[in-house]
């Protein structure tokens, strides 16, 4: 039986005729939690966007749980949290969460309330996201990730912009995911404790991904 959660075979991606990712292969098994590190601008975000199916590879193919990535059903097994603020800024935190809930999971309003309380945004639930601070937006991103019932969690710089309180919330969430045997692939340069991860990869260049642990 196929035990691979993510399988990327010789994938390449180029922008303006320059390879950002070139002939890279990667395999993560189910329930593996891995950290991806690397210099700024080396292509970590591009790699994660490829694995999330946001952008297409120029060559090579990606399989998620044994299925091709560019399939609506396959994408429902991925929870992707990008590095930026993926919100409708004129809507409030609660309205954003309600909208995402309408196609991600159809959870009850009570559950949405609980999620906002968990990330400490309950008091600010009716405030437009454009008025949120960086940390608040990040916590809202975490709540959107919590909303999803995915198998694979692709998290790009989730700690960036969070204070100690926010980091605590995120660490608790990551522990929960690990307990539930979810596959986690986290990109970060800020993560101090690599011991928390089963495996650590470093993207050294466009064509070299080294396993450090």
């Amino acid at each position: 039986m196929n035990n691979r959660a993510i399988y990327a075979d010789l994938i390449s991606k180029k922008f303006d005729n320059q390879y950002i990712i070139k002939d890279l292969s990667l395999s993560l098994k189910k329930s593996e939690n891995a950290l991806l590190i690397g210099r700024n601008g080396i292509g970590k975000t591009t790699l994660l966007r490829l694995l999330a199916g946001v952008t297409r590879t120029n060559t090579g193919n990606i399989e998620i749980l044994g299925n091709p990535i560019h399939d609506n059903k396959t994408r429902s097994s991925i929870a992707y949290m990008g590095p930026g603020d993926a919100f409708y800024k004129h809507l409030s935190g609660y309205e954003n969460l309600t909208f995402f809930n309408s196609f991600l999971n159809f959870r009850t309003n009570k559950k949405l309330d609980d999620l906002l309380k968990e990330v400490d945004l309950w008091e600010a639930r009716n405030v437009a996201v454009k008025n949120y601070s960086t940390g608040m937006k990040k916590r809202l991103s975490i709540s959107v990730s919590m909303l999803q019932k995915a198998q694979i969690y692709l998290l790009d710089e989730p700690f960036k912009g969070l204070d100690d309180y926010g980091k605590n919330i995120l660490n608790k969430y990551l522990k929960k995911l690990k307990k539930k045997n979810k596959t986690i692939f986290l990109v970060s340069n800020l993560f101090e404790d690599m011991d928390d991860f089963e495996s650590v990869y470093e993207l050294v260049s466009a064509s070299r991904l080294e396993r450090k642990k």
């Binding site: 952008t55 609506n72 991925i78 930026g84 603020d85 409708y88 800024k89 004129h90 995402f100 437009a128």
Partner: protein, 224 residues
């Protein structure tokens, strides 16, 4: 999530957002009124001239006002992170473009209806029930053609440099067939009470082609 459900999700989000962006919609509506008032004050047509004059005024005004709205329908998704999130979600990508295009068509429909009402009010022109129904049919087809044109080109131009300049440059020349056919059909309806003619076929085929473009190329447009 299938195409139809995604279309509904995206359309209802846009409809819900209208509450928050009502000022923008009101601005488009006021722009239409301003055009009509300026023309009425500056040029007082005789009843005979009115039938030649009104269709052009109405359609140029509503296409101009609608285009400002159409150019803004992908504004939120210009935020790359939001677009990435939507693309990584189980939403059907073709449905995202279809939902936005449908919203664009709805916006055009509202603005054109408002422009028609205001024009007939200011120029004190009355219509028969049959003429009203025929005009509604023309407005529906022209809204689909223009809204879907804006939807697909808006998706294609996402992430492009100078998008705000390039998009109108593509959009306006392609809107000429819609404008010409709508003006001529409206003139035929007002003067002879006729709907179906060569211009109607042109508008029908053009809106159908736009619909097929969005349906067939929506996913590819978003991927590009």
């Amino acid at each position: 999530m299938n195409l139809l459900k995604t279309t509904l999700v995206i359309f209802s989000e846009s409809l819900f957002s209208l509450r928050k962006k009502f000022g923008r919609f009101l601005g488009l509506f006021l722009l239409s009124i301003m055009f009509i008032i300026v023309f009425e004050v500056a040029y007082e047509p005789s009843p005979k001239d009115l039938v030649n004059f009104l269709p052009g005024l109405i359609w140029v005004t509503s296409i101009l006002s609608s285009s400002i709205g159409i150019l803004k329908i992908w504004d939120d998704e210009e935020n790359e992170s939001l677009l990435d999130f939507l693309k990584s979600s189980p939403l059907d990508r073709g449905g995202i473009v279809l939902g936005k295009s449908l919203w664009g068509a709805f916006l055009c429909f509202l603005i054109t209806i408002a422009t028609f009402l205001m024009t007939f009010f200011f120029f004190d022109y009355t219509l028969t029930a049959e003429q009203v129904i025929f005009l509604l049919i023309v407005i529906v087809f022209s809204s689909i053609a223009f809204g879907f044109l804006g939807g697909i080109f808006g998706a294609l131009s996402l992430g492009l440099n100078f998008r705000n300049i390039l998009l109108p440059l593509f959009l306006y020349p392609l809107a000429v067939p819609i404008l010409m056919s709508s003006i001529n059909i409206t003139k035929d309806i007002i003067t002879d009470g006729l709907l179906v003619g060569n211009w109607f076929y042109i508008l029908f085929v053009y809106s159908f082609v736009q619909f097929l473009l969005v349906f067939g190329l929506g996913e590819k447009a978003l991927d590009s």
